[in-house]
Amino acid sequence: MKNAILFAFVTVSAAQAQVGYDRLLHTEKEPQNWLTYSGNYNSQRYSLLNQITPDNVKNLELQWIFQARSLEKYEATPIVVDGVMYTVQNPDDVVALDPATGRIFWTFSYTPSPDSRPCCGRLSRGVAVLGDKVFIGTIDARLIALDARNGKPIWNVEVDKPADGYAVTHAPLVVKDKVIVGVAGGEYGIRGHIDAFDAATGKHAWRFYTIPGKGEKGNETWAGDSWKTGGASVWVTGSYDPDSNLTYWGIGNPGPDWNGDVRAGDNLYSDSVVALDADTGVLKWYYQFSPHDEFDYDSVQVPVLADIQMPGTSRPRKVMLWGNRNGLFYVLDRTSGQFIMGKPFVKVTWMNGFDERGRPMKVAAAASSREGTLIYPGNQGGTNWYNPSYSPATGLFYIPAWEDYSSLFVKQDATYVKGQTYGGGGPRNVTPPVVAGNFNYRKEGEQYGVVRAIDPKTGEKKWDFPLSDVTDAGIMTTASNVLFSGGRDGYFFALDARNGKLLWKATMGGRVTSGPMTYMIKGRQYVAVCAGNALFVYALRQ
C-alpha cells in the first residue's frame, strides 16, 4: 500500500515536470499539451492530435463548462500543461483547472489599478508558462509571474504607466529565459514598445520602441515631434523562429488614428511586422503593410510561420503568412523580410497594387477627409486580431474575414492630452456593422463574416464558409483535417479543412470571440473554446 501511494506521487510529479525551453521548442513531441497561446512558436494553431476526425466529429459531446465571473468578452486561449489548464478570468485573474473535469485547482485574483483604461475591453487574451511559473500581462500595464502550483505571485513588475493609456492585453511570449510583452494604448497617444523580462526574477532585459527615437533610423518618417505620441501599440502575441533567433510582432496603428496630417511620413513601425533578435531586442528587419495609415489598420495579427515550396522554387522556403486588417494576404520571407506576395482576400479599395519593393500603391483619394472617405475594408478591417490557422496537412491558410465591409473615414482635429483618447475623427457606418443584442436582422447584400481558405502559394481563395454575421472567432486546424471556428451568432462548429463542408455545430449561447484549442488527457482528445462569458470543452462521446 505504501508503495502504491509512493508510486502515485512519483507519477504525478513526473507528469507535471517543469516546462523548460526545450519543451517549448519541440511541442510536436507532446501534442497532448497546448503550451503557448498559439500552440507553438510558429503560431499555426495546428494540432497533431487526430482522434477527432471528419467522420466522428459529429459525436462531440459537451464535457464541462467554466463560467467566468466576468461579463467582459472572453477572448482568451487556454494553455494546457501536463494535466493542468491555465486560463484567465477577465480582466486579469488566472485560473488553474483540471482539463478533464473543469474543477478549479486555484484562482489568482487581481484588481487592476483604477488608472487602467484599455480602449476596447478590460480583458486578457491569455497566459504563458515557463518552468514552474505562469505569466500574465495586466490591463494596468504590469507583468506578473505566478507559482504554477498555487497561483501565488512571485514577482510583479511595471511595464508602463496605465494613467498614460498603457495596458497589456495579450498573452506573453516566452523565449529561452525571457518573457516578452508589448503595450496596448494606440488610441491614447502612447509610444509603443516591446519589452523582455527575465523569467526568474522579473528584471528588465530589453526594450524595443515600436517608434524610433530622435536620431534613430526611421524617426524621420514622423513629422516633428509626432513620434512621441504616435501609438504603434502591440496587443496580440508574437511568434518565434529558433533557427534565426528572431521573434516577430505585429504593430498597431499610428496615432492619431484617423488624422494623419500631424504625422506626415510613413510612420514606422506602425502597421508593420518587426523581426527582433530574441536575446537583445535589436531590430533585424521590418515590413510595413500600411504606410501612413488613416484607417486604423493595426497589424496586430499573429505572425504565422511555415515552410512552403513557393511556385518556381525547388525547396521549401521559410515564409511568414499574414492576413492583415488592411484586407491583404501576404507572404514574406521570414529570414530577410523580403516581400514575396500580397493579394486582397476581401474587397479592398485603398490601394491598387505593389511597387517593385513590395510597397503598396495607395489610391490617391484613399485618405481620411473632413467630408468622409469611403474605404474598403472598413475600420474593423478585412480581419482583425482573430487567430488564423495554417494546416501543413492541407497546405491552406485559414482566416476569419469580414467581406464587403466598408467605413466612411472622417477626419477631425486632434489635440494630444496625456492619458486621453487621441483619435482625430473616426469611422462612420455605411451599413449596419454589428448585431445589437441577441437579434440578427442583417439584410441581404450587407457585409458578412466568412471562414476563408487561401492557398498561400497563389493567394487565391480555395473555399468559403459564409456566416450570417461578421465574426470575431479564431480558427484551429488538426492533422485529421478538422477545422474548428465559431461566430457571433454563438455557434462553435467544425468544418472539413479540405473543402469547408460543415461537419458539426453546437450553440454556445454567446458569441465566440476566441481561438479554439485542443489537448489530450488519458488518451482522450478535448476541444476548448471561449464563448460568451464561459469556456466550453468538448470530447467524443464514450
Partner: protein
C-alpha cells in the same frame, strides 16, 4: 528579377467617387449611423428620455439641451460613464455603437417642432384603428389585435409624429429590418410567409399570419426569400387627412402596457 504580383482592384472604384454617395449630415454622421443610433436609442434610452428626448426636466435633445456636455466626445463620455447620483446608468456597449447614439441625438433637432393640430382626437383615432382602418387585422395594441405585424402597444414611446404620419401614407418608405416579411418553402413544399423574428447562420425564426412562432433549419428549406415591400396598405386615400391625424394621435397615446 523577382516577379512582383501586381494586384488590380475593383476597377474604377475610387474612394473619392464613392464618398459622395454617403454624405454626412450637419452633425458629421451618415444616415446609417443615425439609423443604427435610432435603434439603440429605442432599445436603451427611450423609456427615460422619450421619443423626442425631452421627457426629463432640463434635458431636451431635440433642442440640443445637454446639461453636462457640449461636444460629441463629451456626450460619449456621459454615455460611457453614466451620471453618478442620478438615474443615468453607464452604457456597456462599445464606443462605435455609443457614437451612433450621439449621431441620432444630433439628428433630432432637424425633425423638431412637429405638433398635432388641436382637432386631433385620440378616441376617434382608436375607433379608426380598430374599425375602418382594420389595423388590428395585423397589429396588436394594448392587448387586442393580431400578433402578425409589429406590436403598437408602446409605439408612442418609440416613434415621433413625423414617422407615424409617414408610415400611414407611405408604408414602404421605411421598413425596419426587424419588421420584414420572409417567404419560406419547406422541404415538403409548404409555403409560409412570416415576419422575421431572428436568424443566424443555420436557422431562421418567424411568426406567421396564424400567429405561430416558427423556427427552421436553413438547410431544410427550399426557399428563404425576403419580401421587400410592406403588406400594409397606404392610408393616403382610404383615410382622410383628418382621420390620419386622429390615428397618429391615438398611436402617440400608446405608451405601453403596465407589467402585471
Amino acid at each position: 528579377m523577382r516577379k512582383i504580383l501586381l494586384t488590380l482592384l475593383t476597377a474604377g472604384l475610387t474612394a473619392g467617387s464613392l464618398a459622395a454617395q454617403h454624405e454626412l449630415t450637419d452633425g458629421k454622421y451618415t444616415k446609417t449611423d443615425i439609423e443604427i443610433g435610432s435603434r439603440l436609442y429605442i432599445a436603451n434610452c427611450i423609456y427615460c428620455h422619450g421619443p423626442d428626448g425631452d421627457q426629463i426636466a432640463g434635458v431636451d435633445f431635440t433642442h440640443t439641451k445637454f446639461p453636462r456636455s457640449r461636444t460629441d466626445d463629451e456626450i460619449v463620455k456621459v454615455l460611457q460613464n453614466g451620471i453618478p447620483g442620478t438615474g443615468m446608468p453607464a452604457q456597456t456597449m462599445p464606443e462605435p455603437q455609443i457614437r451612433t447614439i450621439v449621431a441620432f441625438l444630433r439628428s433630432l433637432p432637424a425633425s423638431a417642432g412637429q405638433a398635432l393640430p388641436p382637432s386631433a382626437n385620440v378616441a376617434r383615432g382608436k375607433a379608426l384603428f380598430q374599425g375602418k382602418g382594420r389595423c388590428t387585422n395585423c397589429h396588436r395594441a394594448q392587448g387586442a389585435g393580431s400578433y402578425y405585424g409589429p406590436d403598437m402597444s408602446d409605439i408612442g414611446m418609440q416613434r415621433r409624429i413625423i414617422e407615424l404620419d409617414q408610415a400611414l401614407s407611405e408604408p414602404n418608405a421605411v421598413i425596419l429590418p426587424q419588421n420584414r416579411l420572409f417567404r419560406v418553402v419547406t422541404a415538403d413544399g409548404t409555403a409560409i410567409t412570416g415576419r422575421l423574428l431572428n436568424q443566424d447562420t443555420f436557422t431562421v425564426q418567424l411568426i406567421d399570419n396564424k400567429e405561430r412562432l416558427l423556427s427552421y433549419q436553413r438547410s431544410e428549406l427550399k426557399e428563404f426569400t425576403p419580401i421587400n415591400t410592406s403588406p400594409m396598405p397606404s392610408y393616403k386615400d382610404s383615410l382622410t387627412a383628418a382621420e390620419r391625424v386622429d390615428v397618429v394621435a391615438y398611436l402617440l397615446s400608446l405608451k405601453g402596457v403596465p407589467q402585471p
